[in-house]
Symmetry: C2
Subunit: 100 residues, 2 copies
């Protein structure tokens, strides 16, 4: 049985790790959007469509497989990727409009 103080100390320890992981996640996402911004400009310049369902299907299958091996809920991984891709496509469409 842990005391209230012990539970509180353990909670703070875990939250410190979560904060470190969140910092890493934010910086990875920032880097990912730097890449997709380049993709958006390239697609707009080359007249390629903003969305690419075939690429998305491959990404989702790959991420679900990686999620399974790393112990992450594959459904959740797909949900997160969906939110990211929706934002990427929104950005791509803005580039395409600006290029018109």
């Amino acid at each position: 049985m842990t005391t209230v103080e012990e539970a509180r100390a353990e909670l703070l320890r875990l939250r410190s790790s979560i904060d470190n992981l969140d910092a890493a996640l934010v910086h990875l996402l920032a880097e990912r959007f730097k890449c997709t911004e380049q993709v958006g400009r390239l697609k707009a310049r080359s007249g390629m469509p903003a969305a690419d369902p075939a690429r998305e299907a491959v990404q989702i299958a790959r991420l679900r497989a990686m999620a399974e091996t790393s112990g992450l809920d594959p459904h959740f991984a797909e949900q997160i990727l969906g939110v990211i891709i929706a934002e990427v496509i929104r950005n791509h469409e803005q580039f395409a409009e600006a290029a018109e």
Copy 2:
């Protein structure tokens, strides 16, 4: 002016970087859920509530600030954190129910 072949090669190069970043994101998220699973068990054992609005407010403010300095849209960072926290709370509630 880039040729179609050049544009295609550049797209493949960028997608390869995006795939690497996605692999890192999945593994960071898996690690984050390992931490929050421990938080969930701790909270259930100690009778703490699954959600903690004060902690969430601090997390959101911190992530928005980090997003701004790293060039990520703060609104998008908050949206992603919202999806993650919703999943964490859902998991915490399952632990709490199992502990009852």
